[in-house]
Symmetry: C2
Subunit: 241 residues, 2 copies
Amino acid sequence: MPVDVHKLKTVCSSCSLRELCLPAGLDQRELEQVERVVNRRRPIKRGDYLYRAGSELNSLYAIRTGFMKSCVLHDDGREQVAGFHMMGDLLGLDAISSNKHTCDAIALEDSEVCEIPFVVLERLSRDIPSLQQHFHRLMSREIVRDYGVMLLLGSMLAEERLAAFLLNLSQRFAARGYSSTEFNLRMTREEIGSYLGLKLETISRVLSRFQEEGLIEVQSKRIKIVNMGALRALIGQHDCH
Amino acid sequence: MPVDVHKLKTVCSSCSLRELCLPAGLDQRELEQVERVVNRRRPIKRGDYLYRAGSELNSLYAIRTGFMKSCVLHDDGREQVAGFHMMGDLLGLDAISSNKHTCDAIALEDSEVCEIPFVVLERLSRDIPSLQQHFHRLMSREIVRDYGVMLLLGSMLAEERLAAFLLNLSQRFAARGYSSTEFNLRMTREEIGSYLGLKLETISRVLSRFQEEGLIEVQSKRIKIVNMGALRALIGQHDCH
DNA sequence: TTGTTATTTTGATCTAGGTCAAAACCGATG
DNA sequence: CATCGGTTTTGACCTAGATCAAAATAACAA
């Protein structure tokens, strides 16, 4: 099936795979190849697993629509949310090292993903240098993100963590063309707490405090950022002696 | 940015790059190519920076000998140790995403690294599939490690964190042919604390407690693990209701 | 709509780990 | 080998956030 570049771009962006496709000059043929790999879609119902820790790595998944979380599991049943993922994010990178997924990926709302068979991606990225580069950058970006989470968990106060969390969401929504100041949380207070290393009551309390102080407006899952600057100022203002 | 592996053999052992070379069949010519890339050595004095956050990515670095830490920096000067790295670990992976290093890498003792120009590695890994695979696995392994740290920081008690830390060191020493039960820490209590999201006094206290309980013997930086099993049992025994 | 369950808020209390302070220790350097 | 700055240990006390509990609210299925 012949495809013109313009259409392909549309297809790709409609697939929300700005992440995977676009960047840097792929020529006609390359785009076709990439498209073929990326085309299998798969819907995931809210609450369903995209994959589970321990299961075999077959594909990476790019989120087309929806919202997901990934959870690291501890032997004793404790679980820790390692990340929240939305349109355009690529999931499953952790599984490459051992060919087994090391965390669960669960849909927080009805979602759709593009399935990308990993072996095919690996082969393609040998033939298409710009794809290879892009893939490397994506893995590296995940590592950078992880370092940010470590910083957050290791040395920030509850208020700072939550401010950072809200600002991060805001930014990511903005980058996808949604409002940076009004959005609703797809996850529960408990899930936020798990991600931030805090308990759900603390999340609730800090959100309330933020509201009292006029930084945000909250009504259950609906968030409106009222004073972005003050929220930013909260981070990293820890008195250092 | 760190990563450790255990299998290696002759060819690259001189460079201690069991990490980068070996896995899966490289033929004669390929080995030579890889060796050429990996051959530039560079000594780093204790306390010196291998690279700094913000500096341009030129090379990745594999540690030949010595011990290093990487630190994420917060705007306000707070710093968080993101990892400790030893022989065979590969550093700099975080820099690929933006072509700038996102953390400092500092030698904790006189060390030597192999410098691996990233563009060359990228080119080579297109030509040598097994190298490509290995490189992907290394990046992925770093992500898995990061998830482990998140779990630790997000949901473990001080004792569990320190037990996990000691066991991890023990394991990594063992994988490199050193004693798994006796080693000395190259980092200060403060650096351990930063890594584990605790204060140095807490590290000191918990180490003392472990000694009282007969789990380990400590004399300043010298550690002897006396009861490995009990140490293991400490992790993940948190009463879950 | 109503009943049912999950989620959220808020208050009262508790505690793991932080903070402050001081002494002991260690290793490098002259 | 005495000295000096950087670690480490230990104690006394304090606080951010956890825990426990209960009410209020939202989500949802019948």
